[in-house]
Protein backbone atom coordinates (compact mmCIF):
# COMPACT_ATOMS: atom_id res chain seq x y z
CA UNK A 1 0.00 0.00 0.00
CA UNK A 2 2.99 2.32 0.41
CA UNK A 3 3.63 4.50 -2.62
CA UNK A 4 6.48 6.74 -3.65
CA UNK A 5 8.27 9.32 -1.56
CA UNK A 6 6.22 12.41 -0.76
CA UNK A 7 8.54 14.40 1.49
CA UNK A 8 12.27 14.01 1.78
CA UNK A 9 14.71 15.96 3.94
CA UNK A 10 18.43 15.75 3.24
CA UNK A 11 20.72 17.39 5.76
CA UNK A 12 18.12 19.96 6.77
CA UNK A 13 19.67 22.45 9.18
CA UNK A 14 18.36 25.51 10.98
CA UNK A 15 20.54 27.86 12.99
CA UNK A 16 19.35 30.75 15.15
CA UNK A 17 22.51 32.75 15.71
CA UNK A 18 24.77 30.31 17.57
CA UNK A 19 22.01 27.83 18.39
CA UNK A 20 21.56 24.89 16.02
CA UNK A 21 17.88 24.04 16.41
CA UNK A 22 17.83 21.45 13.63
CA UNK A 23 21.14 19.74 12.94
CA UNK A 24 21.63 17.90 9.67
CA UNK A 25 18.35 15.97 9.75
CA UNK A 26 17.39 13.59 6.95
CA UNK A 27 14.33 11.38 6.54
CA UNK A 28 11.68 10.41 4.04
CA UNK A 29 7.92 10.13 4.23
CA UNK A 30 6.19 7.84 1.74
CA UNK A 31 2.72 8.14 0.33
CA UNK A 32 -0.14 6.99 2.65
CA UNK A 33 2.33 6.89 5.52
CA UNK A 34 1.71 8.44 8.94
CA UNK A 35 5.04 9.56 10.31
CA UNK A 36 5.53 10.61 13.92
CA UNK A 37 8.15 13.22 14.67
CA UNK A 38 8.89 12.78 18.35
CA UNK A 39 11.43 13.73 20.97
CA UNK A 40 11.77 15.65 24.23
CA UNK A 41 10.80 19.32 24.52
CA UNK A 42 13.11 21.65 22.65
CA UNK A 43 14.51 18.88 20.48
CA UNK A 44 13.68 20.73 17.24
CA UNK A 45 10.57 18.85 16.10
CA UNK A 46 8.39 21.90 15.59
CA UNK A 47 11.24 23.75 13.93
CA UNK A 48 11.63 20.86 11.49
CA UNK A 49 7.93 21.12 10.72
CA UNK A 50 8.37 24.87 10.20
CA UNK A 51 11.15 24.20 7.73
CA UNK A 52 8.93 21.89 5.71
CA UNK A 53 5.97 24.30 5.64
CA UNK A 54 8.23 27.24 4.81
CA UNK A 55 7.38 29.16 7.99
CA UNK A 56 11.16 29.37 8.49
CA UNK A 57 13.83 29.22 5.80
CA UNK A 58 16.36 26.41 6.23
CA UNK A 59 19.97 27.44 6.83
CA UNK A 60 21.25 24.44 4.92
CA UNK A 61 20.13 21.19 3.33
CA UNK A 62 17.43 20.18 0.86
CA UNK A 63 13.74 19.57 1.29
CA UNK A 64 11.75 18.08 -1.56
CA UNK A 65 8.06 17.41 -2.19
CA UNK A 66 7.50 14.49 -4.59
CA UNK A 67 11.00 14.90 -5.91
CA UNK A 68 10.58 18.61 -6.48
CA UNK A 69 12.84 20.94 -4.51
CA UNK A 70 10.89 23.25 -2.15
CA UNK A 71 13.78 24.51 -0.01
CA UNK A 72 13.75 28.29 0.33
CA UNK A 73 10.32 28.74 -1.28
CA UNK A 74 7.93 31.07 0.54
CA UNK A 75 5.21 29.40 2.62
CA UNK A 76 2.48 30.32 0.12
CA UNK A 77 4.18 28.45 -2.73
CA UNK A 78 4.82 25.40 -0.57
CA UNK A 79 1.16 25.45 0.45
CA UNK A 80 0.09 25.59 -3.18
CA UNK A 81 2.35 22.69 -4.08
CA UNK A 82 0.52 20.59 -1.53
CA UNK A 83 1.78 21.01 2.05
CA UNK A 84 -0.92 22.00 4.55
CA UNK A 85 -0.48 22.46 8.29
CA UNK A 86 -2.07 23.22 11.61
CA UNK A 87 -0.41 25.43 14.22
CA UNK A 88 0.81 24.54 17.69
CA UNK A 89 -1.46 27.23 19.14
CA UNK A 90 -4.73 27.13 17.22
CA UNK A 91 -5.06 29.99 14.76
CA UNK A 92 -8.54 30.58 13.44
CA UNK A 93 -9.70 33.60 11.47
CA UNK A 94 -11.67 35.50 14.12
CA UNK A 95 -13.87 37.62 11.86
CA UNK A 96 -15.22 34.63 9.95
CA UNK A 97 -17.59 31.80 10.74
CA UNK A 98 -16.66 28.13 10.67
CA UNK A 99 -17.38 27.40 7.03
CA UNK A 100 -15.55 30.52 5.86
CA UNK A 101 -12.51 29.42 7.85
CA UNK A 102 -12.57 26.10 6.03
CA UNK A 103 -13.18 27.76 2.66
CA UNK A 104 -9.95 29.70 3.13
CA UNK A 105 -8.20 26.37 2.65
CA UNK A 106 -10.47 25.26 -0.19
CA UNK A 107 -10.08 28.50 -2.15
CA UNK A 108 -6.35 29.05 -1.85
CA UNK A 109 -4.87 25.64 -1.08
CA UNK A 110 -3.37 22.93 -3.29
CA UNK A 111 -6.53 22.14 -5.30
CA UNK A 112 -8.19 25.48 -5.77
CA UNK A 113 -11.94 25.84 -5.92
CA UNK A 114 -14.20 28.87 -5.98
CA UNK A 115 -17.79 29.85 -5.34
CA UNK A 116 -20.40 27.14 -4.89
CA UNK A 117 -17.91 24.36 -5.52
CA UNK A 118 -15.63 25.63 -2.75
CA UNK A 119 -18.56 25.87 -0.38
CA UNK A 120 -19.75 22.35 -1.21
CA UNK A 121 -16.27 21.00 -0.68
CA UNK A 122 -15.86 22.88 2.61
CA UNK A 123 -19.13 21.32 3.84
CA UNK A 124 -17.88 17.85 2.95
CA UNK A 125 -14.66 18.40 4.85
CA UNK A 126 -16.61 19.70 7.85
CA UNK A 127 -18.55 16.44 7.79
CA UNK A 128 -15.30 14.47 7.78
CA UNK A 129 -14.14 16.22 10.95
CA UNK A 130 -17.60 16.00 12.52
CA UNK A 131 -18.59 19.65 12.48
CA UNK A 132 -21.29 19.65 9.80
CA UNK A 133 -23.91 21.09 12.16
CA UNK A 134 -21.72 24.05 13.20
CA UNK A 135 -20.96 25.43 9.74
CA UNK A 136 -22.56 28.80 10.41
CA UNK A 137 -21.33 29.13 13.99
CA UNK A 138 -18.94 31.90 14.90
CA UNK A 139 -15.47 30.78 15.93
CA UNK A 140 -15.82 32.39 19.37
CA UNK A 141 -18.68 30.00 20.21
CA UNK A 142 -16.65 26.82 19.71
CA UNK A 143 -15.25 24.44 22.32
CA UNK A 144 -11.49 23.89 22.33
CA UNK A 145 -11.54 20.63 20.40
CA UNK A 146 -13.93 22.14 17.87
CA UNK A 147 -11.50 24.98 17.15
CA UNK A 148 -8.91 22.28 16.50
CA UNK A 149 -11.30 20.50 14.18
CA UNK A 150 -11.88 23.70 12.23
CA UNK A 151 -8.16 24.20 11.81
CA UNK A 152 -7.75 20.61 10.68
CA UNK A 153 -10.62 21.04 8.22
CA UNK A 154 -9.00 24.18 6.83
CA UNK A 155 -5.80 22.24 6.22
CA UNK A 156 -7.66 19.32 4.63
CA UNK A 157 -9.82 21.53 2.42
CA UNK A 158 -7.02 22.20 -0.04
CA UNK A 159 -6.57 18.43 -0.56
CA UNK A 160 -2.87 18.56 0.29
CA UNK A 161 -0.31 15.94 -0.68
CA UNK A 162 0.90 15.95 2.89
CA UNK A 163 -0.60 17.17 6.14
CA UNK A 164 1.56 18.55 8.96
CA UNK A 165 0.01 18.40 12.42
CA UNK A 166 1.89 20.32 15.10
CA UNK A 167 0.85 18.85 18.46
CA UNK A 168 -2.71 18.69 17.29
CA UNK A 169 -3.73 16.50 20.25
CA UNK A 170 -2.09 18.66 22.93
CA UNK A 171 -4.33 20.22 25.56
CA UNK A 172 -7.33 17.94 25.02
CA UNK A 173 -9.12 16.31 27.96
CA UNK A 174 -9.33 12.48 28.05
CA UNK A 175 -12.71 12.24 26.26
CA UNK A 176 -11.66 14.74 23.61
CA UNK A 177 -8.38 12.90 23.22
CA UNK A 178 -10.16 9.67 22.30
CA UNK A 179 -12.30 11.55 19.77
CA UNK A 180 -9.21 13.26 18.39
CA UNK A 181 -7.26 10.04 17.96
CA UNK A 182 -10.27 8.44 16.26
CA UNK A 183 -10.52 11.36 13.88
CA UNK A 184 -6.90 11.11 12.82
CA UNK A 185 -7.30 7.37 12.54
CA UNK A 186 -10.05 7.95 9.99
CA UNK A 187 -7.79 10.26 8.02
CA UNK A 188 -5.10 7.59 8.10
CA UNK A 189 -7.58 5.01 6.84
CA UNK A 190 -8.48 7.32 3.97
CA UNK A 191 -4.85 6.96 2.93
CA UNK A 192 -3.60 10.45 3.66
CA UNK A 193 0.06 11.22 4.14
CA UNK A 194 0.61 12.84 7.53
CA UNK A 195 3.58 14.05 9.57
CA UNK A 196 2.67 14.61 13.17
CA UNK A 197 4.67 16.18 15.94
CA UNK A 198 3.27 14.65 19.09
CA UNK A 199 3.87 14.00 22.78
CA UNK A 200 0.91 11.74 23.51
CA UNK A 201 2.41 8.23 23.51
CA UNK A 202 -0.88 6.36 23.06
CA UNK A 203 -1.57 8.40 19.97
CA UNK A 204 1.87 7.71 18.53
CA UNK A 205 1.53 3.97 19.13
CA UNK A 206 -1.89 3.70 17.54
CA UNK A 207 -1.43 6.15 14.67
CA UNK A 208 2.12 6.13 13.39
CA UNK A 209 3.55 3.68 10.89
CA UNK A 210 7.04 5.02 11.45
CA UNK A 211 8.78 7.49 13.71
CA UNK A 212 11.74 9.81 13.62
CA UNK A 213 13.13 10.66 17.03
CA UNK A 214 14.95 13.93 17.62
CA UNK A 215 17.03 15.09 20.52
CA UNK A 216 18.91 18.42 20.77
CA UNK A 217 18.30 19.10 17.09
CA UNK A 218 19.70 15.76 15.86
CA UNK A 219 17.94 12.71 14.56
CA UNK A 220 18.77 9.91 17.02
CA UNK A 221 16.55 7.10 15.75
CA UNK A 222 14.28 6.16 12.90
CA UNK A 223 12.16 3.12 12.10
CA UNK A 224 8.81 1.52 12.74
CA UNK A 225 7.05 2.81 15.82
CA UNK A 226 7.62 -0.35 17.90
CA UNK A 227 11.31 -0.54 17.03
CA UNK A 228 11.90 3.07 17.83
CA UNK A 229 10.04 3.10 21.13
CA UNK A 230 12.02 0.16 22.46
CA UNK A 231 15.38 1.60 21.34
CA UNK A 232 17.50 2.18 24.48
CA UNK A 233 18.91 5.42 23.13
CA UNK A 234 15.42 6.81 22.63
CA UNK A 235 14.44 5.86 26.16
CA UNK A 236 17.62 7.52 27.44
CA UNK A 237 16.79 10.70 25.54
CA UNK A 238 13.32 10.81 27.04
CA UNK A 239 14.05 9.74 30.59
CA UNK A 240 17.70 10.63 31.16
CA UNK A 241 20.68 8.32 31.69
CA UNK A 242 19.80 7.01 35.15
CA UNK A 243 16.67 5.21 34.04
CA UNK A 244 18.11 3.55 30.96
Amino acid sequence: MMGGTVISLRGATKQFGGLVAVDNVSFEVREHEVMGLIGPNGSGKSTTLNLISGALPATDGDIALKGQEITGLPARDIARKGVARTFQLVRLLPSMNVIENVMAGAVFGHRRRWGASAERHAKQVLETVGLADKAKAHTSQLTYIDTKRVELARALAGEPEVLLLDEWLAGLNPTELTEGIDLIHRLRDEGRTIILVEHVMDAIRSLCDACVVMSSGKKIAEGTTDEVLSDPEVIRAYLGDDDA
Binding site: R76, A79, L93, V107
Partner: protein, 310 residues
Protein backbone atom coordinates in the same frame (compact mmCIF):
# COMPACT_ATOMS: atom_id res chain seq x y z
CA UNK B 1 -26.90 37.19 -8.56
CA UNK B 2 -29.15 36.68 -5.59
CA UNK B 3 -32.37 38.58 -4.99
CA UNK B 4 -30.89 40.65 -2.15
CA UNK B 5 -28.16 41.82 -4.42
CA UNK B 6 -30.59 42.98 -7.10
CA UNK B 7 -32.46 44.88 -4.42
CA UNK B 8 -29.27 46.58 -3.19
CA UNK B 9 -28.30 47.39 -6.75
CA UNK B 10 -31.75 48.92 -7.34
CA UNK B 11 -31.46 51.07 -4.22
CA UNK B 12 -28.00 52.17 -5.25
CA UNK B 13 -29.12 53.14 -8.74
CA UNK B 14 -32.11 55.02 -7.30
CA UNK B 15 -29.94 56.98 -4.88
CA UNK B 16 -27.53 57.78 -7.69
CA UNK B 17 -30.33 59.20 -9.83
CA UNK B 18 -31.61 61.32 -6.94
CA UNK B 19 -28.07 62.57 -6.27
CA UNK B 20 -27.62 63.37 -9.95
CA UNK B 21 -30.66 65.67 -9.83
CA UNK B 22 -29.00 68.00 -7.29
CA UNK B 23 -27.73 70.56 -9.88
CA UNK B 24 -31.36 71.14 -10.98
CA UNK B 25 -31.86 73.11 -7.76
CA UNK B 26 -29.60 75.78 -9.25
CA UNK B 27 -28.33 76.61 -5.77
CA UNK B 28 -24.60 77.34 -6.14
CA UNK B 29 -23.77 76.72 -2.48
CA UNK B 30 -25.59 73.41 -2.45
CA UNK B 31 -23.86 72.25 -5.62
CA UNK B 32 -20.46 73.21 -4.34
CA UNK B 33 -21.20 71.29 -1.14
CA UNK B 34 -22.30 68.40 -3.36
CA UNK B 35 -18.95 68.44 -5.16
CA UNK B 36 -17.12 68.30 -1.82
CA UNK B 37 -19.26 65.42 -0.58
CA UNK B 38 -18.94 63.49 -3.83
CA UNK B 39 -15.17 64.00 -3.82
CA UNK B 40 -14.74 62.76 -0.25
CA UNK B 41 -17.13 59.88 -0.85
CA UNK B 42 -14.99 58.60 -3.68
CA UNK B 43 -11.74 59.15 -1.79
CA UNK B 44 -12.94 57.65 1.50
CA UNK B 45 -14.61 54.65 -0.14
CA UNK B 46 -11.57 53.78 -2.21
CA UNK B 47 -9.37 54.33 0.85
CA UNK B 48 -11.50 51.89 2.82
CA UNK B 49 -11.32 49.28 0.06
CA UNK B 50 -7.64 48.92 0.90
CA UNK B 51 -7.37 49.96 4.54
CA UNK B 52 -10.56 48.32 5.77
CA UNK B 53 -9.52 44.70 5.42
CA UNK B 54 -5.75 45.15 5.77
CA UNK B 55 -5.74 47.62 8.74
CA UNK B 56 -2.92 49.54 7.06
CA UNK B 57 -3.52 53.28 7.47
CA UNK B 58 -2.60 55.07 4.27
CA UNK B 59 -1.87 58.79 4.40
CA UNK B 60 -0.89 58.86 0.76
CA UNK B 61 -4.24 60.12 -0.54
CA UNK B 62 -2.91 63.65 -0.89
CA UNK B 63 0.05 62.41 -2.91
CA UNK B 64 -2.09 60.52 -5.42
CA UNK B 65 -4.62 63.33 -5.55
CA UNK B 66 -1.89 65.89 -6.17
CA UNK B 67 -0.30 63.79 -8.88
CA UNK B 68 -3.73 63.58 -10.55
CA UNK B 69 -4.22 67.35 -10.52
CA UNK B 70 -0.81 67.74 -12.11
CA UNK B 71 -1.67 65.27 -14.85
CA UNK B 72 -4.58 67.53 -15.80
CA UNK B 73 -2.52 70.67 -15.19
CA UNK B 74 0.31 69.70 -17.47
CA UNK B 75 -1.70 67.78 -20.05
CA UNK B 76 -4.74 69.98 -20.63
CA UNK B 77 -3.06 72.12 -23.32
CA UNK B 78 -1.73 69.12 -25.19
CA UNK B 79 -4.22 66.26 -24.93
CA UNK B 80 -8.02 65.96 -24.96
CA UNK B 81 -9.43 66.04 -21.42
CA UNK B 82 -11.02 62.58 -21.57
CA UNK B 83 -7.67 61.01 -22.23
CA UNK B 84 -6.23 62.63 -19.12
CA UNK B 85 -8.40 60.68 -16.69
CA UNK B 86 -7.10 57.23 -17.66
CA UNK B 87 -3.57 58.64 -17.73
CA UNK B 88 -4.05 59.92 -14.18
CA UNK B 89 -5.32 56.47 -13.16
CA UNK B 90 -2.23 54.81 -14.61
CA UNK B 91 0.20 57.29 -13.04
CA UNK B 92 -1.53 56.99 -9.64
CA UNK B 93 -1.58 53.21 -9.95
CA UNK B 94 2.11 53.00 -10.83
CA UNK B 95 3.05 55.27 -7.92
CA UNK B 96 0.94 53.11 -5.60
CA UNK B 97 2.58 49.96 -6.92
CA UNK B 98 6.07 51.35 -6.26
CA UNK B 99 5.18 52.49 -2.74
CA UNK B 100 3.35 49.26 -2.03
CA UNK B 101 6.19 47.03 -3.18
CA UNK B 102 8.65 48.91 -0.98
CA UNK B 103 6.56 49.10 2.18
CA UNK B 104 3.69 46.63 2.28
CA UNK B 105 5.92 43.70 3.26
CA UNK B 106 6.66 45.57 6.48
CA UNK B 107 4.67 46.50 9.55
CA UNK B 108 1.88 49.06 9.59
CA UNK B 109 3.97 51.68 11.37
CA UNK B 110 6.52 51.87 8.57
CA UNK B 111 3.73 52.13 6.05
CA UNK B 112 1.91 54.98 7.78
CA UNK B 113 5.07 57.06 8.10
CA UNK B 114 6.11 56.42 4.58
CA UNK B 115 2.76 57.43 3.15
CA UNK B 116 2.62 60.50 5.39
CA UNK B 117 5.87 61.74 3.93
CA UNK B 118 5.03 60.77 0.38
CA UNK B 119 2.83 63.82 -0.27
CA UNK B 120 5.42 66.12 1.27
CA UNK B 121 8.23 64.54 -0.72
CA UNK B 122 6.30 64.72 -3.98
CA UNK B 123 5.48 68.35 -3.23
CA UNK B 124 9.16 69.15 -2.64
CA UNK B 125 10.15 67.35 -5.81
CA UNK B 126 7.54 69.15 -7.94
CA UNK B 127 8.45 72.53 -6.44
CA UNK B 128 12.11 71.87 -7.10
CA UNK B 129 11.40 70.81 -10.67
CA UNK B 130 9.33 73.93 -11.27
CA UNK B 131 12.04 76.14 -9.81
CA UNK B 132 14.56 74.51 -12.14
CA UNK B 133 12.37 75.10 -15.17
CA UNK B 134 11.33 78.54 -14.01
CA UNK B 135 7.54 78.45 -13.68
CA UNK B 136 5.71 78.46 -10.38
CA UNK B 137 2.24 77.14 -11.05
CA UNK B 138 0.00 75.95 -13.85
CA UNK B 139 -3.26 77.32 -15.21
CA UNK B 140 -6.04 74.86 -15.92
CA UNK B 141 -8.50 76.64 -18.16
CA UNK B 142 -11.60 74.68 -19.19
CA UNK B 143 -15.26 75.54 -19.60
CA UNK B 144 -16.32 72.97 -17.00
CA UNK B 145 -18.80 74.20 -14.40
CA UNK B 146 -19.30 72.80 -10.91
CA UNK B 147 -22.18 70.80 -12.36
CA UNK B 148 -19.92 68.98 -14.81
CA UNK B 149 -17.39 68.20 -12.11
CA UNK B 150 -20.14 67.00 -9.81
CA UNK B 151 -21.56 64.60 -12.41
CA UNK B 152 -18.15 63.23 -13.24
CA UNK B 153 -17.49 62.55 -9.57
CA UNK B 154 -20.86 60.84 -9.19
CA UNK B 155 -20.02 58.63 -12.16
CA UNK B 156 -16.68 57.79 -10.58
CA UNK B 157 -18.42 57.05 -7.27
CA UNK B 158 -20.74 54.60 -9.02
CA UNK B 159 -17.73 52.95 -10.62
CA UNK B 160 -15.91 52.68 -7.27
CA UNK B 161 -18.94 51.04 -5.67
CA UNK B 162 -19.16 48.54 -8.50
CA UNK B 163 -15.46 47.75 -8.28
CA UNK B 164 -15.71 47.45 -4.49
CA UNK B 165 -18.67 45.13 -4.80
CA UNK B 166 -16.88 43.01 -7.40
CA UNK B 167 -13.75 42.79 -5.25
CA UNK B 168 -15.86 41.81 -2.26
CA UNK B 169 -17.16 38.83 -4.22
CA UNK B 170 -13.82 37.85 -5.69
CA UNK B 171 -11.00 35.63 -4.51
CA UNK B 172 -8.95 38.78 -3.98
CA UNK B 173 -11.55 40.17 -1.57
CA UNK B 174 -11.63 36.88 0.33
CA UNK B 175 -7.83 36.79 0.43
CA UNK B 176 -7.74 40.29 1.92
CA UNK B 177 -10.19 39.37 4.68
CA UNK B 178 -7.99 36.43 5.59
CA UNK B 179 -4.88 38.65 5.55
CA UNK B 180 -6.65 41.16 7.79
CA UNK B 181 -7.44 38.40 10.28
CA UNK B 182 -4.10 36.61 10.38
CA UNK B 183 -1.33 37.14 7.88
CA UNK B 184 0.57 33.99 8.89
CA UNK B 185 -2.46 31.82 8.29
CA UNK B 186 -2.99 33.59 4.96
CA UNK B 187 0.53 32.68 3.86
CA UNK B 188 0.13 29.09 4.97
CA UNK B 189 -3.09 28.53 3.07
CA UNK B 190 -1.27 29.67 -0.07
CA UNK B 191 -2.13 33.36 -0.44
CA UNK B 192 0.35 35.73 -2.01
CA UNK B 193 -0.11 38.34 0.70
CA UNK B 194 2.19 41.03 -0.69
CA UNK B 195 0.66 40.88 -4.15
CA UNK B 196 -2.92 41.02 -2.81
CA UNK B 197 -2.17 44.09 -0.71
CA UNK B 198 -0.37 45.86 -3.52
CA UNK B 199 -3.24 45.12 -5.92
CA UNK B 200 -5.76 46.82 -3.65
CA UNK B 201 -3.43 49.71 -2.92
CA UNK B 202 -3.11 50.28 -6.68
CA UNK B 203 -6.89 50.50 -6.99
CA UNK B 204 -7.14 53.10 -4.24
CA UNK B 205 -4.16 55.08 -5.58
CA UNK B 206 -5.52 55.14 -9.11
CA UNK B 207 -8.94 56.31 -7.96
CA UNK B 208 -7.48 59.13 -5.83
CA UNK B 209 -5.41 60.30 -8.80
CA UNK B 210 -8.49 60.38 -11.04
CA UNK B 211 -10.32 62.44 -8.41
CA UNK B 212 -7.45 64.92 -8.47
CA UNK B 213 -7.57 65.05 -12.25
CA UNK B 214 -11.32 65.75 -12.21
CA UNK B 215 -11.06 68.42 -9.49
CA UNK B 216 -8.15 70.27 -11.11
CA UNK B 217 -10.29 72.51 -13.39
CA UNK B 218 -12.07 73.76 -10.25
CA UNK B 219 -8.82 75.19 -8.89
CA UNK B 220 -8.07 77.05 -12.16
CA UNK B 221 -4.54 77.75 -10.93
CA UNK B 222 -2.65 74.88 -9.34
CA UNK B 223 0.54 75.05 -7.34
CA UNK B 224 2.25 72.38 -5.24
CA UNK B 225 1.02 73.69 -1.88
CA UNK B 226 -2.66 73.41 -2.88
CA UNK B 227 -2.36 70.16 -4.80
CA UNK B 228 -0.47 68.25 -2.10
CA UNK B 229 -2.18 69.43 1.07
CA UNK B 230 -1.61 66.82 3.83
CA UNK B 231 -4.90 67.83 5.49
CA UNK B 232 -6.72 65.99 2.69
CA UNK B 233 -5.22 62.63 3.69
CA UNK B 234 -6.20 63.10 7.31
CA UNK B 235 -9.74 64.14 6.50
CA UNK B 236 -10.23 61.11 4.28
CA UNK B 237 -9.01 58.82 7.07
CA UNK B 238 -11.32 60.41 9.62
CA UNK B 239 -14.37 60.29 7.40
CA UNK B 240 -13.80 56.66 6.45
CA UNK B 241 -13.23 55.61 10.06
CA UNK B 242 -16.18 57.64 11.32
CA UNK B 243 -18.43 55.77 8.91
CA UNK B 244 -16.66 52.46 9.43
CA UNK B 245 -14.66 50.40 7.00
CA UNK B 246 -16.41 47.09 7.53
CA UNK B 247 -19.01 47.71 4.83
CA UNK B 248 -18.93 49.29 1.40
CA UNK B 249 -21.47 51.95 2.42
CA UNK B 250 -19.62 52.76 5.65
CA UNK B 251 -17.45 55.65 4.44
CA UNK B 252 -20.48 57.37 2.86
CA UNK B 253 -22.29 57.67 6.18
CA UNK B 254 -19.13 59.18 7.62
CA UNK B 255 -18.51 61.61 4.77
CA UNK B 256 -21.87 63.36 4.81
CA UNK B 257 -22.11 64.33 8.50
CA UNK B 258 -18.41 65.11 8.72
CA UNK B 259 -18.42 67.39 5.66
CA UNK B 260 -21.39 69.33 7.00
CA UNK B 261 -19.89 69.51 10.48
CA UNK B 262 -16.53 70.57 9.09
CA UNK B 263 -18.15 73.22 6.93
CA UNK B 264 -19.77 74.66 10.07
CA UNK B 265 -16.60 74.38 12.15
CA UNK B 266 -14.28 75.99 9.64
CA UNK B 267 -16.58 78.97 9.22
CA UNK B 268 -17.24 79.52 12.96
CA UNK B 269 -13.82 78.55 14.40
CA UNK B 270 -11.35 79.04 11.55
CA UNK B 271 -8.40 79.13 13.96
CA UNK B 272 -9.22 75.97 15.84
CA UNK B 273 -9.54 73.52 12.94
CA UNK B 274 -6.36 71.63 13.85
CA UNK B 275 -7.42 71.23 17.46
CA UNK B 276 -10.88 70.05 16.46
CA UNK B 277 -9.49 67.62 13.89
CA UNK B 278 -7.34 66.12 16.64
CA UNK B 279 -10.32 65.86 18.97
CA UNK B 280 -12.36 64.08 16.30
CA UNK B 281 -9.56 61.50 15.89
CA UNK B 282 -9.61 60.86 19.62
CA UNK B 283 -13.40 60.76 19.72
CA UNK B 284 -13.49 58.03 17.08
CA UNK B 285 -10.90 55.88 18.85
CA UNK B 286 -12.43 56.15 22.31
CA UNK B 287 -16.14 56.66 21.68
CA UNK B 288 -16.90 55.08 18.33
CA UNK B 289 -14.45 52.27 17.52
CA UNK B 290 -15.60 50.67 14.29
CA UNK B 291 -17.44 53.84 13.29
CA UNK B 292 -21.15 53.99 12.52
CA UNK B 293 -20.94 50.55 10.92
CA UNK B 294 -19.57 49.12 14.16
CA UNK B 295 -22.31 50.85 16.13
CA UNK B 296 -24.96 49.54 13.73
CA UNK B 297 -23.63 45.98 14.01
CA UNK B 298 -23.51 46.18 17.81
CA UNK B 299 -27.09 47.46 18.00
CA UNK B 300 -28.24 44.79 15.59
CA UNK B 301 -26.41 42.13 17.61
CA UNK B 302 -28.05 43.36 20.80
CA UNK B 303 -31.48 43.39 19.18
CA UNK B 304 -30.97 39.85 17.90
CA UNK B 305 -29.96 38.69 21.37
CA UNK B 306 -33.02 40.36 22.89
CA UNK B 307 -35.40 38.75 20.43
CA UNK B 308 -33.72 35.40 21.02
CA UNK B 309 -34.32 35.78 24.76
CA UNK B 310 -37.95 36.83 24.37
Amino acid sequence: MKRDEWKTLGWGAGLLVVAALLPLTGDGYLISLGVTIAMYTVLATSWALFSGPTHYISLATAAFFGVGTYVTGSGIEVLPYWLLLPIAAVVGGVLAALVGLATLRLSGVYFVIFTLGLAEMTRQAVTWYQNQTGHKGTYVLTDFTDNDIYWQLLGLAALVYLVGWAIGRSRLGFALRIIGDDEDVARHVGINTALSKVALFIVSGAVAAVVGAIIAPRYVYIEPSTAFTPMLSFQVVIMALLGGTGRLWGPLVGVIPFTLLWEAISSSFPNQTTLLLGLSFLAIVYLLPGGFVGLYDRLKGRAAKRSALA
